[in-house]
Amino acid sequence: MFQPAPSFRDPSGCCCFFRGRVLRFVAADAVAGFEQFLQTNCARQFIAGKQFVATRRLNESETAALRTEPGLPPIFSAPAAGAVFEHVRIPFPSYPHEWPPEMLWAAGRLTLELAQAALADGFGLKDATPHNVLFRGSEPVFIDALSFERRNPGDPIWLPEAQFVRTFLLPLLANRRWGLPLAGLFTASRDGIEPEEVYRFCGPLEKFKPRMLSLVSIPTWLTRKANPDNQRIYQPQLLANPEKARFILESLFRRLARSLDSLRPAAQQKSVWSDYMATHSYDDPAFVAKEKFVTEALREFKPARVLDAGANTGHFSVLAAQAGAAVVAVDLDAACTGAIWRRARDQKLDILPLVLDLARPSPALGWRNGECSSFLDRAIGAFDGVLMLALIHHLLVTERIPLEEILRLAYELTNSLLVIEFIEPRDDMFRRLTRGRDHLHAALEAKGFESACAPYFEIVRSLALPGTQRRMYCLKKKSAT
């Protein structure tokens, strides 16, 4: 299984994933501050609310046992000058380039809430990036516990403000105003988007709108006018009055929170696929039969972890979550995944929605491709059940993926159950996709589909959906091919 490389940006320590455990080495000069932070009201309150990753310090015998483990980064093997902590593991890590705008907004909200709460306890947040946050189901969890440091009481400046703007506010602004996908922004750049880049998109009048002025235009003009060699700009501007410094920072956090709230994605966003549940090609009996078929399969196999591939607005993800599974729902439509996130959060369902094209799943990113693992590295073997409903015709026709390849991927993703919907080329939706290229799929029929499944799966049962050219299959993974 893939293991991300240890983190390296923070001079105070590094985090590493080791044999299913999340370990953090903290350097000697940061240990006391880190432990003090974990004892603050802020940390306790957010840990109790499951919004901050639970953390414990390993005792001496546990640390000594680690030293004998091969494969750990050297700094963990000889932590004489520091300490090792262990974090609770978040089941399925996800990254900002896979989130719908709603999730980026929620991660930003949590970041600001923590920064505000830490201020009251005399601590400051030293970086403000969405990479500090993972999602447990639909709920954000702040995982970079070492991001807090005791702040100088006289410092009125929050240095990560620019990073917060680059990685939260401007991506949300660009997504809302011009429809730029977050996947593109965060795949291209770890640190978001610069005000100067957004400035180039703005029309002459738009540059003077209040929100653009504050977040984009004025920082851009100041960058152009300022002398980049003047290092005095970066010197701390300490005030003699700590009360005043805190007043300024509280005002800054309120202002950022207002900006973030004004960029909250709208609830009813429209896209090509957002109305699918209302406009799909099934009549009621067919849809009821499909729903019953999926429910029975879930009841029979009781999968603990389910991947709903091509989830659309998450109707079947909800069924799986209600059956007790932890669900990862992927769809390439950000409006649909955003709707799933809202529903999961409102109904407190264990669903993690991700914007993902199964034909072009998110790649490994970062330094040496080791900072963010690829989707398939995280997903293969991670699920007990996979749902592929109304999906394969998109892969077969639009993406030109061979049927055998689709089934092989499903085989690698699931440990047990696959519920798949086979769609005959005569189906209206199938023909809409072929656009005159029907001859390419003329030989595709249910028998051929079953033969293609045979090397990988046993057919538990199948059901022709009444009044359609579609057939549901409940398949059980064969132990080896």
Partner: protein, 77 residues
Amino acid sequence: MTIVLAYVDPGLGALLWQSTIAAIVGFVFYLNKTRRWIVSTIQKIFGRGRKPEAASTKITVSSESLATKVERKTEVR
């Protein structure tokens, strides 16, 4: 106390803009403080003798309004 400086890029224009706003908000802080000082000073000079009066006024008002409500209900009946 060890202060570890943030390692993230603070930007250039963004940092200058934040510093400018911080200066303005700092001025607001003194305005607020001055306003609070003026209000508390006025209260110290003039407020002491008035407090019991203000309290009795409140009671009068509330008892008046209660009496009015009772009267209205009686009229309705």
